[in-house]
Amino acid sequence: MLVLIADADDARARLLRGIVARWGGEALVVSSIEQARSAVAQLGARLVLCGPSLNGGGPELVSALRAGDTMGVGRVEPGRLIVLYVDPETLDTDPESVMARARTLGADDIIAGPLDAAGIGLRLDLARRMLELGDRLVEQTAQLTAAIERMSRDLEAAAAMQRTLLPPPSLKIGPLAFESLLAPSTVVAGDIFNYFRLDDRHIAFYLLDVAGHGVPSAMMSVTLSRVLTPQAMILGRRREDAALPADQRIRAPADVVAELNRRFRFNGQVSSYFTMILGVFDAETGLLRLCQAGHPCPIVLRPGAAPLQIGGSGFPVGLWDGATFDEITVTLQPGDRLVLHSDGITEAPKAQTQALYGDARLLSLLQDAGDRPLRAVLDTVAAEALRWSGGELSDDVSLLAFEVLPVGALELDADDAIVG
């Protein structure tokens, strides 16, 4: 290892050179601060024995090296360069001494008193170990940084993939004008939703919230969105089902949820269960059939009436084997709105007090929103949840809503995909 001896006193430099050679190092003697700086910058010297009689000043060299005045190598962190200050004549007791100044300026160690080969060898051993540790730290930091960047990119890619599973945030399907919103608390979300046409009169929609947060919940939500397709809502897998008239082939939401409860059984992992609302709307009769599985109650907004929570309770899906699932029905009329939300809104804790946002505040916010466009209402609710949480969501916030359009708008759009 190259050891730079920076001292203009020939006799002391010679003595130090001998000690360094016996220690097993390669000594280079310089006599001025400029030479020392250039040795550090150009030869990459990392271990410096600095004496008091250096031209330009020993303490000044320590100060220059620590300040990064090393001819372009940049600021030198402890661990990249070790400076041992050697002064056999001065004892380190006087606060004004050069030695005290060198120490204040950032020397890593001071060697006072008569030069002793064994003592200096020990300091050099320590210095070399420190440099090796510093190198390892730099290497590991680079590896960690690379690993974190790789994981962040993966997570961003997963989030982008998850977003592709969401429907357009504003979508008209038959007489229903859907609006939705998803604000994940981390990059990926455990909340997911969708809406789609089942046949020429039935429209299905769901909003679900996988327990827990982060990647495990997000993976489960992606799996579920792949399972909850129009085909899953329509009978037809058995031959006798295929013979049914089209309008009798729509499965009851509670049956679909019960099947999910059998398929996704609790395995002790929190992200193996979820809460959801699954609904089917009959555009011909206005009948809405819903299954509420442990999820916050749907809210019906009827012009001129107070917001109304419907349903009440239900088992989550995948938590309890023997769970049974009920159906809620409500007949909607043009102008009615339905709002589904995740508990990321109502269970949002206030930053300082931990007080929950709660149902009452949400209902009053919806009441105040009156007949403003549904898009604006959802944006307001999400902004309010964020504001309540002090600008940082602790859980995913998702909202799915629709408005039943007036009868005149009932004609089917030719563009709507019909699955049958």
Binding site: G212, G268, S272, Y273, W320
Partner: protein, 112 residues
């Protein structure tokens, strides 16, 4: 996580010293409970009087503990705070767990 364990009338009573039973502590809670209940009879009370918030992870952890007691296992909960009661009702977990006001009441119910 500190989990106080006592036995009362042949029933194991667990008192976790936590304020929130959420994603941050759910796994530790589950582990501590399974250690405490490993050699205990399948009847247990969890005293939640210090807990003022339970989220979906906490609910999952409680169900895990109940399932770990086996098919004959019975688990009663004591001191469930209003917020958690709302969650229990919403998810019908009030039909799965017996909720009691006091440890004595829960122990008596489990002893019958």
């Amino acid at each position: 996580m500190l989990m106080e364990t006592t036995t009362q009338g042949g029933v194991t009573v667990l008192t976790p010293q936590i304020v929130r039973l959420d994603a941050a502590v759910a796994a530790a809670f589950k582990d501590a409970a399974s250690v405490a209940l490993a050699s205990a009879p399948p009847r247990a009370v969890i005293n939640l009087h210090t807990v003022d918030f339970i989220d979906s992870s906490g609910l999952g952890a409680l169900v895990s503990v109940l399932k770990s007691l086996g098919t004959n296992g019975r688990l009663a909960l004591v001191g469930v705070a209003p917020q958690a009661r709302t969650i229990f009702k919403l998810t019908r977990m009030d039909q799965i767990f017996a909720l009691h006001a006091t440890v004595n009441e829960a122990v008596t119910a489990l002893s019958n």
